[in-house]
Amino acid sequence: MANSSKKKSGLQRGESKAAFLFCTPAVVLALVFIILPFAMSVVYSFTNKQLIPKVGIETAFVGLKNYIEIFTSKVTVLSFKNTFLYALIVVPSVLVIGTVLAVFVNQKIKGVQVFRLIYFSPQVVTMTVVAVIWAFIFSSNSSGLLNSFLGLLHIAPQKWLQDQHLALPCLAIMYIWQNLGMQMLIILSGLQYISEELYEAAEIDGCTTFEKFIYITVPGLKNTLVYVLVSVIINSLKVFTQVYVLTNGGPSNATTTVVFQLYKAGFVNGQVGYSSAIAVTFFMLVMVISILQNKFAKED
């Protein structure tokens, strides 16, 4: 590739110019609306900037104070733990159930399109509304929707969102319910790349359905699954809306997530500096993890 492009350097120049033009709008917008605001956050994270300071209080540099506070604040540390725990529940579930579901609806059966549509439908319900619906389902009352259902199975009523061990998994279930259809479809599109012949060959070799799944489907989906993995990890680490609308971080901060914590720091307590420091720490942490993960993946 490198050789051939060297040969036609005139063409390459045209290509570079075109690439530059194609990139410009997105790059400019990203610079103005993502990179610049984030750079401001980095600067503010070393200050005590407030959203609306009391008259007479000046913004000043405070060094690493905000960063030190992140590690000394029990709640903020917990918010990081909660966020990763949430991702730990969401990511494998979406990946595994999404793949199984995709295979399940990848059959040439009459009417299967309708079911694909239905499975996808929660995706079009906005998260605020999802939260409202599930608040009713997760009613802690013994005559609540889910509790009544469990009652039929002779399972004792649960307190769901009011139970500090169940609240976070409940939020995860909401997200999985909403998001699974989308990931299912993306995986489904990946399935189309796997050649039918591989399955036929396996059939002749006497492979079971499960073996086919493990040895053909999963490796064939590698690229798709990597994309799903990355996008679900990133999205689930940013969990905010359900917390904001439903639990307000409770009970006992069991659902306080990083983004919710930095929102609260900024908008409720007015501490823009501290809020920025949480954002920067979160960014660095996820960056480091993904770099490490990349390294390990390459060594494999």
Partner: protein, 284 residues
């Protein structure tokens, strides 16, 4: 004899499959049915129906009262119009601008490509909520507060969409492009006339993601709208929750009205979205 057996077996397997499909469908659609059904009931009945299957059945004291209240009192259609305009601007820009950079990264060779790609991955980590105040200051200094463009544009350059497009274009056959270049086509022409028409599934995917994102955005509009003129649906929905009293019937009616356009749109485009995703067109 053997064929009859396997035929029966096939039918049983098929039946089991359908049963499975239906069960899973119930989980996915149940809560939505609950939403639609409850929007027709008065609040008192919603509460009393919670304990059993009636929560999913339209029966009892059904009326359109909640809807009338929401449309007349909560002025649904004013917010609806704003949401529609903002969402159209956002979807159009987000699908094209991110496709352009995705195409460049996926199919063209140029210096700095690797840096841009890793920057995109890094930027996707930044939660919008964490830069929202600074973004507000930027939009303010650009004079875009309280405008449709100010509502729509800050999220247009969306790292996830760029990455999705990049991934897609990376997988497209290079031969098409090379042939077009030999024919003397410009890159712009290749992009608009060849690549984009071949990318309908991914465009639809991004468009739907962008639509949902814009349609449900809650936090940014609270800052960037500065009076009632441009407020969007999620803000109006949030206003229905009050400290003193929340009429869930109205919340459900409002939510239903908010969800239905998305559903219709999705049904219209599902052929593009679902069908062309599954039909093996260009995947080679």
């Amino acid at each position: 004899m053997r064929t009859a057996m396997s035929k029966r077996k096939k039918i049983i397997i098929k039946l089991c499959m359908y049963l499975g499909y239906l069960l899973i469908a119930a989980i996915f659609i149940g809560p939505i049915v609950f939403l639609f059904v409850s929007s027709l009931k008065p609040y008192v009945q919603i509460e009393s129906d919670m304990s059993n299957i009636r929560a999913f059945i339209p029966y009892g004291d059904l009326s359109l009262d909640n809807y009338i209240n929401v449309i007349v009192k909560a002025d649904f259609f004013k917010f609806f119009k704003n949401s529609v305009v903002v969402t159209i601007i956002f979807v159009l820009l987000a699908t094209t601008i991110n496709a352009m950079i995705g195409y460049a990264l996926g199919m063209l060779n140029f210096r700095g490509k690797a840096i841009i790609i890793s920057t995109i991955v890094a930027l996707s980590i930044i939660p919008t909520e964490s830069i929202i105040i600074n973004r507000f200051m930027t939009v303010n200094s650009l004079g875009m507060l309280n405008t449709y463009i100010g509502l729509a544009i800050p999220s247009v350059a969306y790292p996830m969409y760029m990455y999705l497009y990049y991934n897609h274009f990376k997988g497209m056959p290079k031969e098409l492009q090379e042939a077009a270049i030999i024919d003397g086509a410009s890159y712009w022409k290749i992009f608009t006339k060849i690549m984009m028409p071949l990318s309908k599934p991914i465009i639809t995917t991004v468009a739907i993601m962008a639509f949902i994102r814009s349609w449900s955005d809650l936090l940014w509009p609270t800052l960037v709208t500065r009076d009632g003129t441009y407020r969007t649906l999620p803000l109006a929905l949030k206003s229905l929750f009050s400290d003193t009293y929340t009429d869930w019937g109205q919340v459900f009616a409002f939510s239903t009205l908010m969800v239905i356009p998305t559903m219709i749109l999705f049904l219209v485009f599902q052929k593009q979205f679902v069908a062309s995703v599954t039909s093996s067109g260009i995947k080679g």
